[in-house]
């Protein structure tokens, strides 16, 4: 691990959004430092730095091919970077853990909702929330009162209490997205990675989703990757703009909107 002092000061000032003088990466729930990933010579991520505080709600935006998906793949252990460091909760080295291990700390919601269509809403939540995911325990244990309580609480949070016993395949598109967020919550992750949560949603659904994600921040750290600028404006306290595999700009939405570099590559399109 590189010491704070080794970094050159210019680098630090430009790339660390919150210079606090605290030794990195212990302050951050999610800490990506100088991450680079190449696929067949194409640099999908190029010296990417991303630091997320505990309880933060962060939006990541960027044009197609900016590296948003690759960034999430690195965080969740699906892709191993060629260079760089990735830490969770200060001291957990994400590059040394497998996908299933990381999944218990960091929940990821994919762009396309993939709920289990033949299972009921409750069953979807039950599977996601299982504490012991080995073969024997799943064969012999039954739903406990405590699990039932957690499922009910999650159903309320995601607003699907009235649809609890319907098959997930019968839900609307927006409801599926919420169910998937609920499945993430059942895993009780510290960090939620949410990929385009409002794509294809109606106006009301989008508003409800903004409310839901805002409510989750604080207890969880939430990273939202989104195209819909209106939606980003409605939820984000802090925005990171990706471009060609690295961070182009970072800051409050107002500052980002007026940043000439951002306007040029993204908002100006």
């Amino acid at each position: 691990m590189r010491e704070h002092g080794e970094r050159d000061s210019d680098d630090w000032a430009r790339e660390d959004p919150l210079p606090g003088g605290i030794d990195a990466p212990h302050k951050w729930i999610l800490y990506l430092d100088k991450i680079s990933v190449s696929f067949d010579g194409f640099r999908a991520l190029n010296n990417l730095n991303l630091y997320i505080e505990a309880g933060e709600l962060r939006c990541v935006i960027g044009p197609n091919g900016a590296g948003k998906t690759t960034m999430m793949d690195v965080i969740t252990g699906k892709t191993r970077p060629d260079e760089g460091e990735a830490f969770f909760d200060g001291s957990v080295d994400l590059l040394e853990h497998t996908e299933p291990e990381i999944a218990s700390w960091i929940g990821r919601k994919f762009q396309k909702p993939t709920v289990f269509v033949n299972h009921t809403v409750i069953e979807n939540l039950e599977l996601a929330g299982l504490r012991d995911k080995r073969v024997w325990p799943t064969l012999i244990t039954k739903l406990s009162a405590q699990e039932r309580y957690r499922i009910d609480a999650t159903l309320r949070t995601i607003g699907l209490l009235d649809h609890a016993t319907r098959p997930a395949g019968a839900l609307s598109h927006g409801q599926k997205q919420w169910l998937e967020i609920g499945m993430l919550l059942m895993q009780n992750p510290r960090v939620l990675l949410v990929d385009e949560p409002v794509a294809g949603m109606t106006r009301q659904e989008t508003e409800a989703t903004a409310e839901l994600l805002n409510g989750l921040a604080g207890e969880h750290s939430v990273v939202v990757v989104e195209h819909d600028m209106e939606f980003v404006r409605s939820i984000a306290r802090r925005v990171t703009v990706l471009h060609e595999g690295h961070v182009l700009a970072e800051g409050p939405m107002d500052a980002i909107q007026n940043d000439p570099k951002v306007i040029e590559v993204y908002l100006g399109e």
């Binding site: 299933p100 069953e123 599977l127 995911k133 064969l139």
Partner: protein, 364 residues
């Protein structure tokens, strides 16, 4: 609801278990108590034929467990059936003792014929019934465990998995055809005399074997039903529908697939072990890929993913096969092929689906 117990709302399962209970009472009476010549008498031939169907039904049940519930289309399940059958056949061969054609108490006839002077090491232990029973379970189980581990850990799925299961049973068939393997080559194992000292030709032994097959099918059904209604059942059904998502939820999906695949192979082994003493022979043709494909047709015809439908399909298709091969032997394969095409197009949920549709129509 989640809390429903494993036989609640399982009308098809009740019907299956009910039919088995009735057969368990009626068949022994009709065969043993009602005298020969009475129109109600059931011949021993029929008892054995029914016993054979029961073994096929257990085999179909085992395939439905992996195909209907985990989405693994195995085209090599006949291999596990045959291995269980061979384990039982080896025990029955050892029971012949000195009563073979060559009168050699140490070696089975085919080994004497091949001029072997001692029993191969892997035949040791098969003089003991319990050892043979353990092998009936262990040999197919271990093969499935190793094969499944390699295949599922490497994430081999779909048609590729079907092809390698087919290759597995084909390779075993070629191996068992060789005399040097020590399993009787193309003649296989036959000419059995006794099981646990009971004459295999006697009516009583046949009826007991029939009843054992009933018990095995009933217990197999209950075991499978327990598995598919457990949380594990919900996990594997989710694996069938969206495996990547289950993996992302934190499950090691290949562990679950290997576990169910192995359980299924063990059930096949038991079915094979019950089949061999009833038909009196086991030979390498049991490994032929066609058998495993027929098995898939039984499950598809009955109704995939219902368990009882698989048992029904096995009985119906095999009854049709018995009838057709007696009347028009050359037509059977065409009927089988047509059946599979028709069911896939017109009855995706099999015979069980027709019943369900009919019931819905009545309610409406």
């Amino acid at each position: 609801m989640l809390t429903k117990r494993w036989l609640d709302h399982d009308r098809g399962g009740y019907v299956l278990l009910g039919v088995l209970a009735v057969l368990a009472v009626v068949v022994p009476i009709a065969n043993l108590a009602i005298p020969d010549g009475s129109p109600l008498h059931l011949s021993t031939f029929m008892v054995t034929l029914l016993g054979k169907y029961l073994c096929y039904a257990l085999l179909a049940l085992a395939l439905d467990l992996v195909w209907g519930y985990v989405g693994i289309l195995s085209l090599g399940h006949g291999a596990f059936f045959a291995l269980g059958g061979y384990a039982m056949g080896m025990y029955l061969m050892r029971q012949i003792g000195a009563r073979g054609v060559y009168g050699n108490a140490e070696l089975p006839d085919f080994m004497v014929f091949l001029n072997w002077d001692k029993l191969p090491w892997y035949w040791h232990g098969f003089d003991t019934f319990w050892f043979a029973l353990a092998m009936v379970v262990l040999v197919p189980g271990l093969l499935a465990l190793v094969f499944g581990w390699l295949a599922f850990r490497s994430r081999v799925t779909g048609v590729y998995l079907s092809i390698i299961t087919q290759a597995l049973t084909y390779a075993l068939m070629l191996a068992f055809f060789r005399n040097e393997m020590g399993f009787g080559g193309n003649n296989g194992l036959t000419d059995f005399k006794e099981l646990l000292g009971f004459d295999l030709q006697s009516d009583t032994t046949r009826v007991v074997l029939f009843l054992t097959s009933i018990a095995a099918l009933a217990l197999g059904y209950i075991a499978c039903r327990y598995v598919v209604t457990s949380r594990l059942g919900r996990v594997v059904a989710a694996i069938r529908d969206a495996e990547g998502r289950v993996r992302f939820t934190g499950f090691r999906t290949h562990h679950f697939k290997v576990w169910v695949f192995t359980l299924s192979a063990i059930l096949c082994g038991i079915a094979g072990a019950l089949y061999v003493p009833q038909v009196g022979i086991i030979n390498p043709t049991e490994f032929q890929p066609l058998n495993s494909i027929e098995l898939v047709v039984w499950v598809a015809v009955g109704g995939r993913g219902t368990l009882y439908g698989a048992a029904l399909g096995a009985a119906v298709v095999n009854y049709a096969k018995s009838t057709f091969t007696a009347l028009l032997p050359e037509v059977w394969l065409f009927v089988l092929g047509a059946l599979f095409v028709l069911v896939t197009i017109a009855l995706p949920r099999g015979l069980v689906g027709i019943v369900a549709r009919f019931r819905r129509a009545q309610h409406a």
